[in-house]
Symmetry: C2
Subunit: 219 residues, 2 copies
DNA sequence: ACGAAATTACTGAATATGCATTCAGTAATT
DNA sequence: AATTACTGAATGCATATTCAGTAATTTCGT
């Protein structure tokens, strides 16, 4: 058996066990058992338990970002790009549930080091979204008063919460397609009923959005 | 010193320490020190370390839900209600950062028991949002094809991600007001530029939303 | 009003346990 | 024969929890 085999066997086992039990409640002996190796063998491939978690993150997150970027490359229309992003994201989560669980839950409450590391990679991911927004604004199809820095978080957060819900409730009420469609549509169209002859129902009521976006602090 | 005093002193200390170090890296001795009691005293008020976490959740989450409901009670317009929800939510997070950190991070990866318990309370919170949507649909001001079950998660997720960002980066780029305004506006109006005479830019391009929301699986 | 006895509250060093990590020994490969 | 890969029982440490002892508070008889 080649080295690469055990390395990845242990990693895969770890992803499974960490996702199931959580990092702190996962036992090295469980991972060893799951990977069909001795406890000690794990330490030939990883420095310690924490190192396994970091490696999972390092080796897997890059793949995801690359995949999303690649799949979006040949989509032109900003609105469709946003929808595609949602669709791809949700599909990845669905196909990598254990990994998604770890990234969503375990990596959040880790050491300062891994947290910062996570955030760096994460920022890269979020910036895919803000780039789409800027592109849409430049093309004149998205509103100019939208702040990409807020939008990217709102949009990602919506997807993230939706997928968290999936991870919890195994039996899904909605398809990935429907969720991606609705969520991207919320953000593109809004939920306010479009009254013919007016741009939106909201504009009816000046008390609701008195001076929209006038309270910026910093850029 | 009254009993109630120590109970809440220990709880407050725990919130602080858990938020700072994470549940698993928090030491009982640290909490004791922070609360100015002996290690053993903690066990006169709580069964074990985990019990403290559960109690934090039990005693604090109810207050929050009650506060939000109460503050929304006298708002009528659904659109404004949505904005108010965002504003109140973000303000609560801002004013209870340690607690927010714990609810967001620590309670996620806990035992099955606490997870389920969290989800129950959490569902109650989310349903405030879907109620607003249904109210708006009944009043004819929100689109009928919006699914409240998806919307509530998307909307909450957007707020949650925004506040997570705040918890991480101490120096804030945006005010709570601005974020609440933008996020509720994304969802109400969308970001697609409103072209006069048309209901939205999206309707321009039939390829983007071919058969919107036609792939429902279950209700 | 006072002190003694009883009750209740608190302390923190000692205990016990659980588990990550090590390493002397064995097996497989070159 | 030498090198490399693996094993899993033994080690050692960290820390949640306990509990014998001390302090504070309350009760109650004179």
């Amino acid at each position: 058996m080649k080295i690469a085999d055990k390395h990845s066997k242990i990693l895969q086992a770890s992803i499974k066990v960490f996702a199931q039990k959580g990092f702190y409640n996962a036992r090295i002996s469980e991972i060893a058992q799951e990977a069909n190796v001795a406890d000690g063998t794990i330490y030939l491939y990883f420095n310690n338990k924490y190192d396994i978690l970091i490696t999972i993150f390092e080796e897997e997150i890059g793949k995801i970002i690359a995949k999303v970027k690649q799949e979006l490359a040949n989509v032109e229309d900003p609105a469709e790009k946003l929808y595609k992003f949602a669709l791809i994201h949700l599909n990845i989560v669905e196909e990598n549930q254990d990994l998604a669980e770890i990234i969503q839950v375990e990596l959040r409450q880790s050491s300062k080091f891994i947290k910062e590391y996570r955030n760096k990679k994460f920022a890269e991911y979020l910036n895919i979204i803000s780039q789409i927004v800027r592109q849409g604004q430049a093309a004149g199809v998205f509103r100019q008063d939208v702040m990409p820095g807020i939008f990217k978080r709102a949009f990602f957060g919506a997807l993230d919460e939706m997928s968290r819900f999936w991870l919890l409730s195994s039996k899904k009420k909605y398809t990935v397609n429907l969720a991606a469609r609705q969520i991207s549509d919320f953000f593109l169209q809004g939920i306010a009923r479009q009254v013919p002859g007016r741009t939106s129902a909201l504009n009816d009521d000046s008390s609701v959005s008195p001076k929209l976006f006038s309270d910026v602090v910093t850029v």
